[in-house]
Symmetry: C3
């Protein structure tokens, strides 16, 4: 053992110095307050909600109409208790001093129940999202493939759940949910965005849909699409950014937005049935039924030493 | 306890309403059918395959030539049984009524064995992929770094395994595998794509390689590159998208495609030894040995209030 | 049981063939060497470091100033031992024959202690990163939301830890750390990059910050931004890529780089207070206070069969 014991004796002093910073840098610790919502618990809640929304695809197999009611009833009962606890914590953490009298637990329970009540309608909407994916992707072989594999449906499912909680005024938890989905899928949808039915996001990595985006029914979005802000004003007196105003675009129904297109600005409206080509960059509105594509992309072609015996589309040699 | 017991009494009715939707929205549940492949099991199978392909890097440490045969033999035996079960499920789920007589388990076992038999050849091919990464990236310090850290090699490893299963006609499981890799790496390679040897994908987030893409040997691809479809035809009578035809480009051998380039269309062929510059957008073929770059990007430069004492490349101040 | 026992009898031969390749393809196995650092262990070390840097947000709840010192002391003691072991392994793996006499364990312990000693300063710097995110994003509602949810802060936290280890000369482990963060967030920051204070990366998916990038204080970066290499020279005699020279750009202080912009080249300097617009593509330096935007993007608008009764910005119909 080459370990130097004298070096280990430095550790208590390091601990002391670290703990000392908890008093100074108050911003990034959460000590001695009422507990925050637990990220781990929120992720588990999402797992249970997925089990209810897509029964038979997940953890519990061999479900049938004869036993599924017990399985779902059990999950709903547990979700009610855990949602109530997490929502309660989110409210307590967020409250201003004057609200301290509020009965947060009762409020949290009421919201948990109202949230669970939306699941039947959410299932109907998500079923249409799944069908939109199947109809929109020639590579899809079955609806089961969509439910199992498509990151777009996974991200939209979490978004729709988070959006309901966001609409019920729950702080923090909706964002924890959508950022969990963002990490898993690369698709970043703010829970505040308003999105119609039959949304299909294909591939999806790099998609960003900002807080005040509005999207109509039947929209298709490919990987790398940004629906973002052009810039945002600051309060003239405080210098702080103004929060909450419309900063992100409006996409009307039946629009298709191809890969890596960027649409920016709160006043930008993409009229219905428009098609936005791959890599287009748009900061002003377009009327309905418009097709926007990059005009002959200004590329420079420089041809090299092509030898005459090179086949133009020569045989590709696959080993595997 | 502020919890309102009357609210909890609403839960059975919510459960009932949810279960009621399982009869209507048949699309997104899987109840009372033969079990689907298990996503969790497929992920564990991938973990074991990784352990065999890259021994000594993973879970089991202290492997040497004297004990590795036991470790691998054990894994192969277990993989045989679990692959057979999952492939069996994938076939049953996919079958048409008339095929119900098929002995799916025997077929599944046969495929599992044929799949395992390809591993020695797959190791050779993946070893060359690893070397291509080391040779292609000045930031790489060792081959171990490539195997441990490079998302490109991780995604290519899963793709090559999934492509073999796809070639053996296994439904659903290959896509579950590549979407798992997509979630982990941001690299989305369809198991149907045909890819030659020595592929190097660097960084990789946002890369999409579509189902009918063909890629020759020695190709380098950077983050955000899309090899995608331009558009796809619909069946004139049914209106459904036509599935299976060539929609994605062909990349000949020794091509380099830099970050965020987009190459679209089933007729688009990028001739060998071509270089496609960062952010280029290409929808037509280029002959071999062509360099394509964005021509003087049309940028607008607006200079602000430069104060004379501003250093142009002033000292950067790193605190850490 | 339809399983064919004769097929199972093929498995030992498959195992033998696989193990046979471990002797040929030496590159991608690690057998009979001293053990490599463990990826799993490195990830757990990152989890414990996060627990110390952001106390109260993670696994352990109900921490307060009265008990946090015990919690942190415990973690530091354990981290010391595990870091020493992993760093020792990284050095042994990396060593040249002539260095075999070195007392790697003593060296590893010394580095582990020096690393832990930087945590107080790292907390101060990360606290400013968190504030920069809050001040930079109108969608952020609280600092807790930043710490919990923002992938940018998560990736920057891992980068700053990895950068310290990289600066202390530890091989492999810093890259394992940043690639773990890359997988979780889609943000790929090389531990060798030099980054000033108050960095804010928003959304972040697809961001690549290369090994020799230099970034000043107060910089904002959006999703899909690449700070990359233009090309890299090869050694004239060996043909191998030259490793280590400056290949990535320098970003001076207070620069904003919007979504999907690409800045390439080791000689490229973006002067301070510049703004690089979304999707810009830059390979030469710009002086301070410059705004670079895509000039009227060359888009082709084709309007379709607009029916007169179509509302231009018709009511969007949200069901949820």
């Amino acid at each position: 053992m080459a370990t130097d014991v004298r070096l280990k004796e430095l550790l208590p002093a390091i601990t002391e110095r670290i703990v000392g910073t908890y008093e100074e840098c108050g911003a990034i610790h959460h000590l001695g307050h009422s507990p925050l919502p637990s990220y781990r618990e929120v992720v588990e809640i999402l797992g249970d909600l997925r089990e209810i929304i897509y029964p038979g695809y997940g953890r519990r197999q061999n479900l049938h109409m004869g036993n599924v009611a017990y399985h779902v009833g059990d999950l709903i009962d547990s979700l009610h208790d855990r949602l109530t606890q997490q929502i309660d914590r989110a409210f307590r953490h967020n409250c201003r001093a004057k609200e301290l009298e509020t009965d947060f637990e009762a409020k949290a329970q009421d919201i948990a129940v109202r949230f669970l009540e939306t699941i039947p309608e959410l299932r109907r909407v998500l079923s249409e999202d799944a069908h939109a994916a199947y109809e929109g992707d020639p590579a899809a072989r079955s609806l089961d493939e969509i439910v199992f594999c498509y990151p777009g449906l996974a991200a939209i499912s979490v978004y729709r759940l988070a959006h309901v909680l966001h609409g019920l005024g729950v702080p923090l938890i909706p964002r924890m949910m959508t950022e969990y989905a963002h990490g898993k899928t690369g698709i970043d949808i703010h829970p505040g965005a308003r999105i119609g039915q039959r949304l299909f996001i294909d591939h999806g990595t790099g998609v960003v849909i900002g807080e005040t985006t509005e999207i109509g029914d039947g929209v298709k979005i490919y990987q790398g699409v940004t629906l973002g802000a052009l810039s945002f004003p600051r309060d003239e007196s405080t210098g702080e950014v103004v929060r909450g105003n419309k900063r992100h675009p409006t996409i009307e129904h039946d629009v298709v937005i191809y890969a890596n297109a960027t649409i920016l600005g709160g006043d930008t409206v993409i009229g219905h049935h428009s098609v936005i080509g791959s890599s287009a960059w748009i900061t002003r509105s377009v009327v309905p039924h418009t097709t926007v594509t990059i005009e002959n992309p200004r590329l420079r072609y420089r041809e090299g030493d092509v030898r005459p015996d090179d086949g133009y589309a020569e045989r590709l040699n696959y080993q595997i």
